[in-house]
Symmetry: C2
Subunit: 133 residues, 2 copies
């Protein structure tokens, strides 16, 4: 992609006032929703050029190369944008099968059951074994 | 659910400063991601009590009973929340098979192909036939 093409692509996205766009990561095979995060222009550009999910961490205010510590990177399969061009869906291959920092497959492991949030998904790997701090 | 239980449930959700939470609607059978929207406390409470997706329209600044004009309501099957308790996934049955105001099954009908957003999903029904304005 030329620099012009990249700029044009970025301009077609409707960024928030903070220059961000919400992103949903979905497993390209199981179609499970894995996680939700945000991208800025740089993160989006890096995601496309490196073909792996790279987000903008709003809490740390920096580029977040998903899997940089855990090794659980998300290889890019497909990118979709919605009708308003203000939300992105990434279809990814979740390396290691773990998207959540709690060591679970997906971040959406709590289900509303009889009025309370019940944990319905087991930890695949102890976070202490994932993040060697 | 008692009023106390409802309040407790609402308090467990991490709302934005504007009192909102992002919501992803997913088809409970195909697992396709249908749309992305927001809820405030009232919308979330109504969604649970009426067992259909009710959002907060940020553009119109009012409760948005998905399907109120089109009839394409989203019947609630399951509700999930993520690890940070600040994003919700609804598994829904999309009545009419059309979630998008463009008359498509899903709002995520544009796919990034060779650097451009390509429309990869056909219109199921002409919006003029859906919205009788």
């Amino acid at each position: 992609m030329t620099e012009n093409d990249r700029q044009e692509l970025l301009e077609q996205i409707k960024w928030t006032e903070d220059g961000l766009i919400p992103v949903v990561a979905q497993d390209y095979q199981s179609k499970d929703i894995l996680m939700f995060a945000w991208m800025n222009r740089e993160a989006f550009s890096l995601t496309i050029s490196e073909q792996r999910a790279i987000y903008w961490s709003r809490s740390r205010q920096k580029i977040w190369r998903k899997g940089e510590e855990s090794g659980h990177i998300q290889q890019l399969k497909e990118v979709f944008i919605d009708c308003d061009q203000d939300v992105i869906v990434l279809k990814v291959e979740q390396i290691g099968g773990i998207a959540c920092h709690t060591g679970r497959r997906s971040c959406f492991y709590r289900k509303l059951e009889e009025g309370v949030w019940q944990t319905v998904e087991a930890v695949v790997k102890n976070p202490n074994e994932i993040y060697h701090k």
